[in-house]
Every structure is written in C-alpha cells, then in structure tokens.
C-alpha cells in the first residue's frame, strides 16, 4: 500500500553523490596539472577497493547489494580519502585508508547514513598516527616525473629524502620551531608560491570552483563553507595581527593544506555533520578554530582531520540545542 505523496522529485542519493564527484573534478584536474598526475592511479585503486569493500560488507551484513553499490557514496568516500592523502603513498597505504573508511567507519556503524564520524577523516587520522613519516611526504609540486611517481606508488621504491619535500604548512612549522626565521623569510623560499605553496593554490581554486557548483546545485548550503572560511580567516587573522612574524597570514591558511577541500567537501558531509542552520555555522566554525589551533600549536602540520572528528562528537549536542523555531512558534505576531 502506497500512501501520499504519490509524486516525487526526481532526486536520488545517486544523483547527489554524482554531483559531488563532478564537483571534485576541477580540483582533481588542478592536482594532476600542478602536483602529481599519479593521483589518477590512486583514485582508481581507491575506487576499486571501496566498491569491493562495500560489497563484501553488505554481503556480511546480509543487505541487498545493488542499491547500496549504485548510490556512489563509497566512491565519494574513496575519492576524498585519496585527495587528503599524499599522492606518492604506496598503493597499499591507499587501500588501507579506504578500508578503514568503508569497513570500520561506515559499515561497522551501520552503513550509509549511520556513521557518526567522517569516514575520510578517520582514515586520515588513523593513517597519520600509524604511519607518521609516510603520511608526511608530499612531492614538490610538479617536479617529479610520472615514472618516479608510479615507482613510488606501485613499485615500492622509497628514496624519500631525495625526492620529497614538506608542504608549506610543514615547512613553516619546522622553520618556526627551529627558531631564527620568520614567516616572511620562510615564505620567500622558492618552494612556496604566492600564498599556500606553489601549485597548491591552484588546487584550492579548483576546489573552490567545485564548491560553488555544489552550492548552485543546492547540494550544500552556504552555512558550512562560509562559517569555516570566515572562522579560519578570523582566528588566523587575529594571531597574524598580533605577531606577523610568528604566525602566517589568513590567506596562507586558507590556500594551504586541505582548507578548501575541507570547506566544501569534508566539513559539509551531511551524515556526520550538524544539520540545523545555526548548528551548521557552529559546527564549521568550531572545526576552523580547532584546525587552526592544531596547525599553529599542535603536533601535526594539518589539523583539519582531527578538528572534524572532535566536532563530529559534538554534533548531537549542537543539533539538539539549535533547533530552529517552528512555524507559528516564533513568538510575537499574535494580537
């Protein structure tokens, strides 16, 4: 027996996820062009792993395969895992990361829609704790030829120090920790581009373009990206103004690391994030704040992943206390 409504908008989880994948394409293109083309290989590895893991878990849990596999949510998770991992990881590390995300975070909590934590971010955190050095090796933008990249990813070649470098965030951290140098001096080093590390700023632009596409398509709302970007700018700006020599500028923070990816694709994960309009603002701003504190004072160069997980914990509390007023209960108006 079917009850009203008898008509439905032609929207589906599949189309939502497909839109997200499409929105990732400009970012990926910038990645291939500026950083490392081998990311495409990683994407393929991750996608295959994700689908196999999803199928296996569905089988184990006795759930139907077809609808869950075709909804593309596993592919989105896999792509996000790849995009926040260093591109020159050996293939097994990518596989491991995707398995953590799909098996441990998504299915052990009950599958699509049930996970309290962002799968890609748990994968990142688990991997950076388990393999700190491996996860900190980023290729200098556009300086490795494809063969070297492939050797690193597929062949297990590890001549690390010769070919890899630190990211801008990393360099600033080590530089400042070593003392003597100021942010300005560090930023004039050739490895960094205009703001966020040479090449990476293009990536940030790519993600921004994809994010705007998502906004236009109505997949995400303005709340989270705005709160995240503004939050990060305000907190980093405050520190920068007090001591420009010791703290990098807001522009640097926004353009470097995974800030833009996070603003539009990570923070906005609906399943593990806050859902009310005010809740979204608090959630995203909270992530920006924690991420900055970890970047500036913590033990890890990039703090967004930890920040997301910490705020994921707060989501039920945030949602519960930010329920928007219901029609007719806004007060006033009555005579």
């Amino acid at each position: 027996m079917i009850h009203s409504p008898y008509i439905r908008k032609p929207a589906s989880v599949q189309s939502v996820m497909l839109t997200v994948l499409i929105a990732l394409i400009p970012g990926i293109a910038a990645y291939v062009w500026q950083i490392a083309a081998v990311v495409l290989v990683n994407l393929v590895i991750a996608t295959v792993t994700a689908l196999l893991a999803e199928a296996a878990m569905l089988k184990v849990r006795g759930r139907p395969l077809a609808p869950a596999l075709s909804d593309l949510s596993a592919v989105v998770t896999a792509w996000l895992v790849v995009l926040c991992f260093p591109p020159i990881l050996p293939w097994w590390a990518t596989v491991l990361g995707v398995l953590i995300a799909i098996v441990a975070v998504k299915h052990l909590y009950g599958g699509l829609g049930q996970n309290p934590f962002n799968p890609a971010m748990v994968a990142y955190c688990a991997m950076i704790i388990a393999f700190p050095s491996l996860m900190s090796q980023w290729p200098p933008a556009g300086q490795l030829d494809l063969q070297t990249q492939l050797d690193l990813v597929l062949g297990g070649v590890r001549e690390l120090d010769a070919i890899t470098g630190a990211t801008a965030l990393d360099a600033i951290r080590t530089g400042l920790r070593a003392g003597n140098t100021s942010v300005d001096a560090l930023l004039t080093q050739s490895a960094f581009g205009q703001f966020g590390g040479r090449g990476w700023e293009w990536l940030a632009l790519g993600y921004l373009a994809g994010g705007i596409y998502l906004l236009v398509r109505g997949i995400i709302t303005w709340h989270m990206p705005t709160a995240f970007i503004v939050g990060l700018a305000v907190i980093s700006g405050a520190f920068w103004l007090t001591n420009p020599a010791q703290f990098a500028s807001p522009l640097f923070h926004l353009a470097s690391g995974g800030a833009m990816l996070a603003a539009f694709f990570i923070v906005t994960d609906p399943v593990s994030g806050a859902a009310t309009p005010h809740g979204k603002l608090i959630f995203a701003a909270g992530i920006a704040l924690i991420a900055y504190l970890i970047r500036a004072f913590g033990a890890f160069p990039e703090g967004i992943a930890f920040a997301v997980l910490l705020m994921n914990i707060c989501v039920p509390l945030i949602d519960m206390n930010t329920q928007p007023p219901v029609f007719g209960h806004r007060g006033g108006k009555a005579r």
Partner: protein, 183 residues
C-alpha cells in the same frame, strides 16, 4: 599533619552537610515505584495476575512477590515497559495467567437477562447498570473487558465482544521497509 587533618575534616563536614541537605530537599514522598508500576498496568482490574486488582499487583511486583509477566491484558508491550522500569530482563507472558487477547467488552443479551444483579456486583468498575428484576446493560465505554461478570451470570447471557476498529481508533501502520533480496 594538622592542616591535612583539618582539611579532611572540613571536606567531611561539607560533604556530610550537602548529603544531609539533599536527603531533606529531595525526600521522596510515598512509594513512587508502586505508582509507576500501577501507571503501566492496564487497569482492567481483572485479577488474572492472581491479585485483586492492578494496584495490589503493582504492590506485589514492587515487594518482589510477583513476577512482571502475569498481566495478560497488558500484553508483551506492558511486560516490556515493566522490564524497562525495573531494569529486569523481558520474559514472555506466563502461560498460567492467561493469553493476550484482542480488547473486548462485555455484552448482555437482554432477551435472556433475568435481572439478578450478580454481574453488577462483580463488575470492578461499576460499568453495568440495572436493578433487581430489571434488565441489565453494559456501559461499553466504561467496560475494561475484565470478564469478571461472565462467570457469575446464572443464565450465561454475557458474552465478550471484540471491539471493532472504527475510524476513531484506526491506526496507521508502521511503514514497512522494503529490502530487496541480496543480489
């Protein structure tokens, strides 16, 4: 040494005072557990549990004399609520106390009724009206369906009629979640 002793004593006094205050401030009136159990019981007053009414059964549960699975009208849901309230394991309805039945009300066949008033005396909620040598009838909205009036009737003119679904009592069903068989 002395300071430590003083501090410890001070803490003890403060905590003692706080506990004492709390015990007065949050003093529990009466026996709320019996009230809470009674609120879960369906109030049919049928005595199927072996006690003369719902309140005595609630009292017995609270005293640990009776088990939570002796109330057929409350059914499984009632047992579940009691188990939740008392922090006990759920157990199925005890066979010896009866079976869960659809809600019914008593109906007096007025052709047969001789006006003996025995059913009126048996009804725990005064839901039967009539007088000696006058026909009796059941006020069905008040009837709890306890069946206590059925046995005393000398002419067997009382029947239990299941309460049909009306538009007022009709309920929407729990939506069925369709799962395709694993491919």
């Amino acid at each position: 040494m002395l300071t430590a002793l003083l501090i410890m004593t001070g803490i003890a006094i403060v905590l003692g005072a706080a506990l004492g205050y709390a015990s007065i401030r949050f003093k529990v009136e009466g026996d709320p557990l019996v009230e809470k159990i009674d609120a879960i019981l369906p109030q049919t007053q049928c005595g199927q549990c072996g006690y003369p009414g719902c309140k005595p059964y609630a009292q017995a549960i609270s005293n640990g004399e009776a088990d939570i699975n002796q109330c057929p009208p409350g059914g499984e849901e009632g047992i579940r609520k009691l188990a939740d309230l008392l922090g006990r394991e759920f157990k199925p309805l005890s066979e010896e106390h009866g079976h869960e039945k659809p809600k019914s009300v008593a109906f007096i066949n007025e052709q047969l009724c001789i006006g003996c008033t025995l059913c009126i005396q048996a009804c725990p909620v005064d839901a039967i009206v009539g007088a000696a040598k006058q026909m009796h009838t059941v006020v069905s909205p008040l009837c709890t369906g306890c069946e206590l009036c059925v046995a005393p009737c000398p002419v067997d003119c009382i029947a239990m009629v299941p309460v049909g679904e009306t538009v007022e009592t009709w309920k929407w069903k729990y939506p069925v979640i369709e799962l395709r068989p694993a491919a």
